[in-house]
């Protein structure tokens, strides 16, 4: 499973991403999966869902607004 941290805008996403990178949390910037949102946009994808509690704490410390964190299975293979 992967964790997707969703934000109200990309600025909040960048702020949390920078903090997570400093803390060596395994994460990437990723397009928000369709299951999580009806709009295009960026989320922070957590490679380990076990990191969710510390990610929530870092967000709180940085004053980053997080919409919510969703867990989804690893995407399947491409159709190509």
């Amino acid at each position: 499973m992967l964790g997707y941290v969703l934000f109200p805008n990309h600025t909040e996403a960048m702020r949390l991403y920078e903090r997570l990178k400093r803390e060596k949390v395994r994460c990437t910037m990723a397009p928000t999966p369709r299951e999580c949102s009806v709009c295009c946009g960026v989320s922070v994808r957590l490679e380990q869902v076990e990191d969710i509690p510390r990610v929530e704490e870092y967000a709180r410390q940085e004053g980053v607004t997080v919409d919510r964190i969703e867990q989804l299975p690893v995407p399947g293979k491409s159709i190509w």
């Binding site: 369709r34 009806v38 709009c39 995407p75 491409s78």
Partner: protein, 424 residues
Amino acid sequence: MADYREMWKSLDMDLEVHDQLCEVLPGMFSEVYLSQENRPEAMDYYNFVIAEIHGVRPAELIEHQKKGGKVFGTFCVYVPDEIVFAADAIATGLCGGSQFWVPGGEKVLPVNTCPLIKASVGARLDRTCPFFRIADMYVGETTCDGKKKAWEILGEDVPTYVMQLPQMKRARDIAAWADEIRAFKDKVEEVTGNTITAEKLSAAIKLINDKRRALARLYELRKNEKLPISGKDALVISQIAFYDDPTRFTQMTNKLCDELDQRVKDGVSVFPAGTKRILLTGTPLAVPNWKLHHIIETSGGAVVAEEMCTGTRYFERLTDESQTTLDGQIDALAQRYMGINCACFTPNTARIDDILRLVDEYHADGVIDVNLKFCSLYDTEGYSVERALKEKGIPVLGLETDYTDTDAGQLRTRIGAFLEILGE
């Protein structure tokens, strides 16, 4: 999650149809790109750009317009972005790379038109791409027949300025292209209300050259035996180069290259030993056309370079920065741009020289010559390209494709078989 629907509504986009693209793009990108192992960390910037492809950059362009600035949409690497930026305007590439837009184009264009043209027309007429809605003026060129006639149709919907690209490269043709650039400069000044001075054009030439230098640096790193970055990643970077803010793009690409420099020092490779090295040549791969790279790089190959508009044709050769007069600068631009070796020119033997040189420089095991369906220019030139490669004993595979997914299985079979015979 950022809600851009108000912005899209203000652009008179068809939100319902556009939503269908929003539905598939995240999954497609995740499956193709985020499935890769050991990607450079700096690729997160480009993930961000793709994730926000119809959000952040369009919002920046609109902000620019609110301050009185103009946006020019372009479709060809021959159009000198330097002229646009020198007038304090913004140039953005508009080529469509998805089947999603093709049906819209087929409402007005013959089905036997290349999918890039059909997608570009469809994106505008169906109102399903914010970039196509934002541009104040489109800049077309007389590269191929399909484009020439498409501008006539597009021009009924959006102001379109067409540059007459010569078909040969004699001295008088280069002089003619310089005159076309002068006329384009006059048009840009008229549309923007800004005068292009020698100082501003000098700064714009350096701006665009800096972007080219950053891409050249990235490509240089792909010449290594141990590849620090995948071809797929290099492709999306090349695609983003067409529309991202030039200063930011240059900075982030140089930052990526710093990381790749370290990877090379540390002997990091994103492919296992024995992966076959492939040079791609042919028609451009506009975003989000990632099909071929994905198939090659999940079949035992690595794309080490692209002799394409989305590749070396975009950044090789800099514009001379030493000129201090407008005339000198425009002549320098004409020289630089006429050095691009597109199949719309005759003769175009310099492209074959480029391909042979790139095989050598990038230590390619083989070449895949890619042709978008119905592009007769590159298709016909493919005969000479493939003959030259065979004469040198360089394995080559010629492929024709479009934007649909239906040929993926067949392509995988042919590419897989080609990769197997390499190095035998």
